[in-house]
Amino acid sequence: MIRVALTRVSLATILLAGTALPALAKDALDITGRWQRYGIGANAANMAEGEKKFTPPPRPEPPLKPEYLEKWKAFEKEKKEAAAAGTPFATTWNDCIGSGMPEMMAAAFPMEILQTDGQITIIQEAFMEIRRIYLDQPQVSLDDIELGYYGHSVGHWEDGELHAETIGIKPDVQVNDAPHSETMKIEETFHMVSDDIMWVDITLVDPDYLTKPWSWSYAFQKMPDYQMQEYVCEGNREYTDEDGYQRIRLPE
């Protein structure tokens, strides 16, 4: 009986410790919680006129240098024609691979943010993508990391805004098929625009490929009662064929 009671106390202590928020840095906001993209899909259709001010404008075309822009536009045309013909090009999602940075921030599914000491963790429900922003640390050198889908992110709070910088994104992890260099930087600013709406400005800096920084924004609304679901690809029937088109397997 005593042993059971002690176990309960210990468990309760652990649970309490686990739920305690870390002390947030000066100027930091509490952005821990679940979020959904605001101003898209059904939630945009039902939006009152006054709420549309929190809907960011669409992402502009990438300001690519002329030699890259021409190829990008040609490929965009090819993509549209392929889709119109009912034979769309495949994407990473067809092969159950997530979007990587910065496209994962488009958050087609709910997103969770966790604030712990020295770190902010962002989890996308789709494909269970995870990125980590290390707070108040200097950025590393590209020589010290391997290029990947999420790169290496550092950040700091300043006047109620979270500023993050990410480097180390593989060139074939792209936003809307826009090419970039290995030295591309992703700059983000997170801030609240109302009690429950967070605004994230994203800027890609890549003088090798862009004539100027490429910027756009996303808005997110809190989902106070939502619990994140798991997302494991276990029954994928879609695949990419030898010509790069999206295909689907039907049972024999």
């Binding site: 119109a84 994407t91 990473t92 074939d172 690809c233 029954g235 990419t240």
Partner: protein, 147 residues
């Protein structure tokens, strides 16, 4: 196919075609391989309800007036999206007689994208297909007889 292999395939294709630039790794699913101009409603019997990501699938046997059986595989959306609009894995069972409204595969194979399904209790469940309004509904197109 991995992104690396994808890039290799694209690079080889570019070399062969003399084109410039690879087909890189963008995101998101496309439903462009399904007919957006008409729908077909299948009157059939469920053989399997595959509750998985990235998408769920409904397998349905459809019997025509001559008694011939055609099997259809119908793609649905992510089970995460379906859960958010009330679906459960136990909602459909093998043997259920359903009316499944789908956008058919454009390549002519017996399959499609499920827009909604009427279950034995008469309730209609939508699958939450993004941009569902872009699919033109043709309710008179019915295939199969319910026995």
């Amino acid at each position: 196919m991995s992104v690396r292999l994808w890039s290799v395939v694209a690079a080889v294709a570019c070399l062969l075609a003399g084109a410039a630039g690879a087909r890189p790794a963008a995101a998101h699913h496309s439903f462009a391989m399904y007919d957006h101009d008409r729908t077909v409603t299948l009157m059939g019997t469920v053989t399997k309800f595959q509750w998985t990501n990235p998408h769920a699938y409904l397998e349905v046997d459809v019997v025509n007036e001559e008694g011939a059986v055609t099997h259809y595989s119908i793609e649905m959306t992510s089970i995460n999206m379906m859960r958010r609009i009330g679906w459960k894995s136990s909602l459909i069972k093998p043997g259920d007689k359903v009316a499944a409204t789908m956008a058919a595969l454009l390549d002519g194979r017996p399959g499609g994208l499920l827009l909604d399904v009427t279950l034995p209790d008469g309730k209609v469940w939508k699958t939450g297909v993004p941009a569902e309004h872009t699919f033109t509904r043709t309710p008179d197109a019915v295939v199969g007889v319910q026995k």
